[in-house]
């Protein structure tokens, strides 16, 4: 007590006359962030009142208007307060920036994960854990949905609450889980894979991460808004979205933050991949995960501004009375409703590849390592990713076959949509050929990879069916669509995410997971996933519309069956949660390279050292040379010493020897 009171004035005397703020409010962190958020709220209040007063609007204090401004301002104030922009502000103000650039590298206690940290490995873990938090929230909402639908007729949710629940479910799982969890896994793994000490822009990386929880909290807070949460689906079609209660704006603005995070990360990945590869790592020596994230980042950078635009249009319509989508019958109302859908899907179709290509990368890594064989047709695997990127921009209107747009445009969209199955098919067949005659290690990551192959093939097949316009006309907006999207996003993306989390868990935490629990998790997920979503194909074709709080009694039996399966599916994730938490706390220590993989991230300790590599690695061969005697991907000598060595001419690097 006395020691601090004596020392503090001594330290502060030179500034005492100038800054009365207590030190906790001056240092970056939660206190300053909370203080800044309050300031942000006051700013929103003041700005709104001032403008309304100046424009003679009555009443001067309008909760709706204040909320709109606060939704944008408070998160920004929070980010400044939290310290994500301190370096730039100090630099701009001419003050001394923190001398050691990477002082905030590494995490030494769990508290470091709750601070601004520029270490890509810490950010990767922050991303993955945050996303999984939202997976569990979104999953709980799914349980509510299935409880409501267990019986026909209204249950415990009112229709508007139900609409809110499934809208938030979809939005959280798309924008706060699938997209960021891939960014998180890649954040951890990708710089290691290409032999870089960090991402190209570590401070931007930290900012990208901290935008995310803000977006997620904003979307969850919409439940507290008067009139309930946003309830127009994750697609938020105008003019429904422009006439909804206040909660809709929590989506409209929240998506902007999630989108900004996504764009910034994608730019970071692009620059990192293009400029920071280790010596010797040509593009065609990059692991396919790197290729996948390169392709994904291209998609994100080009497409995401479109959803930002669509939501800004909505914001302007609602907040400032613009008429983009205001096509209600009446004088002066001639907005264009279909424009929303075109702009929205020009992002949201590529978005399904944003949610799938990184998973393709993960599967390529796992199948090659666990089959002990080189990936079959590496170049075609890389080119097919690029083909998907290009084709992905040519198919958006297949979501609009029944939207009332001009009929002829459906035909080219049908053809491009069907064609995109070809590069996807190349990938599936190449994975199958990689399995062929390999030595298959059927542990948890591999089981999830094989499960993915099965589920994604089904999702792909229903996708080709949906491309066929007459069939799509029958099933669009029915449960067939719900089944299809869950086969590609749950059976597809989530299975790759589980596979990836298990696969890199030893590297990220330095611990091994429990393989038996992992297998139990896989089988429960696999079985009950199919029992949940398989029957939805049938009831969809039978004519049960999606997004309904109640349904005709002829669907009762199937819906009860689906609900029970869904509850068990929900329980299965608890096995995963227990396995991860228990293994992280007390699992056996992981060796540097438990899977005997060749890619660079496995050639350093688990978890990796703070700056990843003690010596810059030099890449001398392909990433998947399994079965080639003595083949290596990278060596840890200085570049001048390292020369490409013929296969068989080089012994394994020291880090690999130590535990084989």
């Amino acid at each position: 007590m006395s020691a601090t009171t004596v020392s503090e004035p001594a330290l502060q005397r030179p500034q005492k006359t100038r800054v009365p703020l207590p030190p906790k409010l001056r240092a970056p962190g939660w206190y300053r962030a909370a203080f800044a958020s309050v300031l942000g709220l006051a700013f929103s209040f003041g700005l709104t009142v001032l403008i309304r007063w100046a424009m003679h609007e009555h009443p001067v204090i309008d909760g709706h208007a204040i909320t709109i401004v606060a939704l944008i301002a408070v998160p920004l104030f929070f980010l400044f307060g939290f310290g994500t922009a301190d370096y730039w502000l100090y630099w701009a103000a001419g003050r001394a920036t923190r001398p050691e650039e990477h002082s905030s590298h590494g995490a030494h206690s769990w508290r470091d994960y709750f601070r601004v940290n520029t270490d890509h490995k810490v950010i990767g873990v922050q991303y993955v854990v945050t996303s999984f938090f939202f997976l569990f929230v979104g999953g709980l909402l799914a349980m509510l949905i299935r409880a409501q639908l267990a019986k026909p007729g209204m249950q415990f949710l009112t229709p508007e609450q139900y609409n809110g629940v499934f809208s938030v479910h979809a939005t959280l799982l798309i924008f706060l889980f699938v997209i960021p969890v891939f960014a998180g896994l890649a954040n951890f793994v990708l710089p290691l894979m290409i032999g870089a000490p960090d991402m190209a822009f570590p401070r931007l990386n930290a900012l990208s991460f901290w935008l995310l929880p803000l977006a997620g909290i904003m979307m969850l807070m919409s439940f507290l808004a008067p009139g309930g949460s946003f309830a127009s689906g994750w697609t938020a079609y105008a003019p429904l979205s422009t006439t909804q209660p206040l909660g809709q704006l929590f989506f409209t603005v929240g998506v902007q933050f999630a989108g900004a995070s996504s764009i910034a990360t994608a730019l970071n990945f692009l620059v990192t991949i293009i400029t920071m590869r280790a010596p010797g790592m040509s593009f065609f020596r990059m692991p396919l995960l790197v290729w996948a994230n390169f392709s994904t980042s291209l998609l994100v950078v080009i497409a995401t501004p479109f959803i930002a635009a669509s939501q800004f249009f909505v914001l302007l319509d609602v907040g400032l009375g613009f008429h983009f989508f205001d096509a209600f019958v009446g004088p002066g109302k001639n907005g264009n409703v279909l424009m929303y859908q075109h702009v929205f899907w020009f992002y949201s179709h590529p978005a399904v590849y944003i949610m799938m290509l990184p998973g393709f990368g993960i599967i390529s890594e796992i199948i090659a390592v666990k089959s002990r064989k080189p990936i079959f047709g590496y170049r075609m695997m890389a080119f097919s990713l690029l083909a998907i990127v290009v084709l992905g921009f040519t198919v958006w209107a297949h979501h609009m076959f029944v939207s009332g747009m001009q009929p002829w445009i459906r035909i080219p969209m049908m053809i491009t949509t069907a064609i995109i199955a070809i590069p996807t098919g190349i990938k599936i067949f190449s994975w199958l050929a990689t399995l062929w005659r390999g030595v298959l290690h059927l542990d948890t990551p591999m089981l999830f990879a094989l499960g993915f192959l099965t589920m994604f093939t089904l999702g792909g097949i229903s996708g080709v069916m949906l491309a066929m316009i007459p069939f799509d006309i029958h099933v669009s907006q029915t449960y067939f669509i719900v089944a299809h999207i869950h086969y590609v996003l749950f059976g597809g993306s989530l299975f790759t995410i589980f596979a990836g989390v298990y696969y890199w868990f030893p590297k990220m935490t330095g611990r091994m997971f429990d393989d038996r629990l992992g297998k139990l998790h896989f089988w429960m997920t696999f079985i009950f996933f199919n029992l949940t979503f398989g029957p939805m194909h049938l009831i969809g074709i039978q004519g049960m519309p999606r997004r309904v709080a109640e349904y005709a009694s002829k669907f009762a039996a199937w819906n009860l069956f689906i609900s029970i399966s869904a509850f068990i599916l929900g329980l299965s994730t608890l096995i995963f949660l227990y396995n991860i938490v228990a293994s992280w706390r007390g699992g056996p220590r992981a060796s540097a390279n438990p899977w005997r993989a060749l890619t660079l991230e496995w050639q350093v300790s688990s978890p990796p050292p703070i700056f990843n590599f003690d010596a810059v690695p030099t890449v001398v061969g392909g990433p998947y040379e399994y079965g080639v005697p003595g083949a290596v991907h990278g060596i840890f000598k200085s570049p001048s010493e390292a020369k490409p060595v013929a296969a068989g001419g080089y012994t394994a690097p020291p880090s690999q020897e130590s535990h084989t």
């Binding site: 199958l432 069939f471 029958h474």
Partner: protein
């Protein structure tokens, strides 16, 4: 020797296909087909199943066969597979073969699409007007407009639906017709159906349109042509005045004195204004508006109208106490609640759920008859 696993797998795959394709075809996927379009789409789906199930079987066979044949055996922990990097011929095959299959499917789908959307010289037009949360079907008989909350169409008669929306995006879907299209505010969309089977079928809105979306349902009756004519003749042009009007006319619908508002049919507006002359007739007309075209029963409970919706307050019991709370005469309160739903929110309900466009989309006559009706039956 090297090809033996391939051969074994081929046998397994053929057997798997032979079992799974018939299984997939046996499943009663579709509801009973009731239109020419539906049977075309069912054919397309059958072709899609026959074309794609073998692909699924192929993938599964390779996966399961690999798991069975190539899984790591004890003692192989350090063993690697053969370093096969690719096979150009194989890669060309699995690019070209699916491409041909897909182009074939697209061409077949296109022929079916073309057949389904072909216009016929003797088409009958049915106007569909959708709003939160109701359908309204209107027919023209001898220059007069007939309006019905349910759809009646004759068997084997090509019908073209002209679909409009008065507020947000809706959709028009009859599962047994296998056809649907959105109702988009600001434009008129078109759908063609030739019904082939007499019966009654559900009509669904499949595009999320707000709180009452799940309840936005109607019924489609396919009847013989003679029965259809009987039904059409039995309808009074003033049975249920049209809600709103096509976009071009609707601008004037909200004009005061709209009893004479420009509607497509002069007779309907003149007869509806005459119906407001006596209170009883007006209440009867109001009941038709309530249960039919305005869609009140989608969300409200009102025993006198047989309505059981639960999205909004029970109009049989809530109106009088709420009017007291609002300090208004009952009729004035009902009218305000229709025209400005947010002015008074009944306890336990949320603002902004009820559409706020009734003042524009209903004529003043319709609103006054609605007010008469609700006031006459509420307690």
């Amino acid at each position: 020797m090297r090809n033996r696993p391939l051969l074994q797998m081929l046998v397994v795959g053929v057997i798997g296909t032979a079992i799974l394709v018939p299984l997939a075809l046996i499943v009663p996927w579709f509801p009973s087909d009731a239109s020419k379009q539906a049977s075309n789409i069912h054919t397309l789906y059958t072709v899609l199943l026959i074309a794609t199930v073998p692909i699924f079987v192929l993938v599964e066979t390779v996966v399961l066969f690999s798991v069975w044949k190539f899984r790591m055996k004890p003692g192989e922990e350090m063993k690697d597979g053969p370093p096969i990097h690719g096979n150009t011929r194989l890669e060309v095959i699995w690019t070209a073969a699916p491409a041909m299959l897909i182009i074939g499917l697209c061409v077949f789908a296109f022929t079916k699409l073309h057949a389904n959307e072909k216009s016929h010289p003797n088409e009958m037009t049915v106007n569909v007007t959708e709003r939160q949360f109701a359908f309204e079907f209107s027919y023209v008989r001898n220059g007069k407009t007939i309006v019905s909350p349910d759809l009646y169409i004759p068997e084997n008669q090509p019908v073209v639906f002209k679909i409009r929306s008065l507020d947000v995006i809706h959709s028009f879907f009859v599962p047994n017709f296998s056809e649907k299209i959105d109702a988009v505010p600001g434009i008129t969309t078109t759908l063609r159906v030739t019904a082939t089977r007499v019966g009654s079928y559900p009509v669904e809105c499949t595009e999320l349109c707000g709180a009452g979306h799940s309840l936005m349902r109607s019924a489609a009756y396919v009847v013989t042509p003679s029965k259809f004519q009987q039904w059409l003749q039995a309808q009074k042009p003033n049975a249920a005045p049209p809600v709103g009007a096509p976009p071009s006319n609707a601008a004037q619908a909200g004009v005061p004195g709209g009893g004479s508002s420009a509607s497509t049919s002069t007779s309907s507006s003149s007869s509806s204004s005459s119906s407001s002359s006596s209170g009883g007739a007006s209440a009867a007309a109001g009941k038709a508006v309530f249960t039919g075209s305005a869609g009140c029963s989608g969300c409200h409970t009102l025993a006198a109208a047989g309505a059981t919706g639960t999205t909004g307050p029970n109009l049989g019991t809530a109106v009088v106490p709420d009017a007291k709370k609002a300090g208004m005469p009952v009729k004035q309160f009902i009218q305000e609640s229709i025209e400005k739903p947010n002015a008074f929110i009944s306890a336990g309900f949320q603002p902004n759920i009820m559409p706020q466009t009734f003042a524009q989309t209903l004529t003043p006559t319709q609103i006054s008859s609605l007010v008469d009706f609700i006031a006459s039956v509420t307690k």
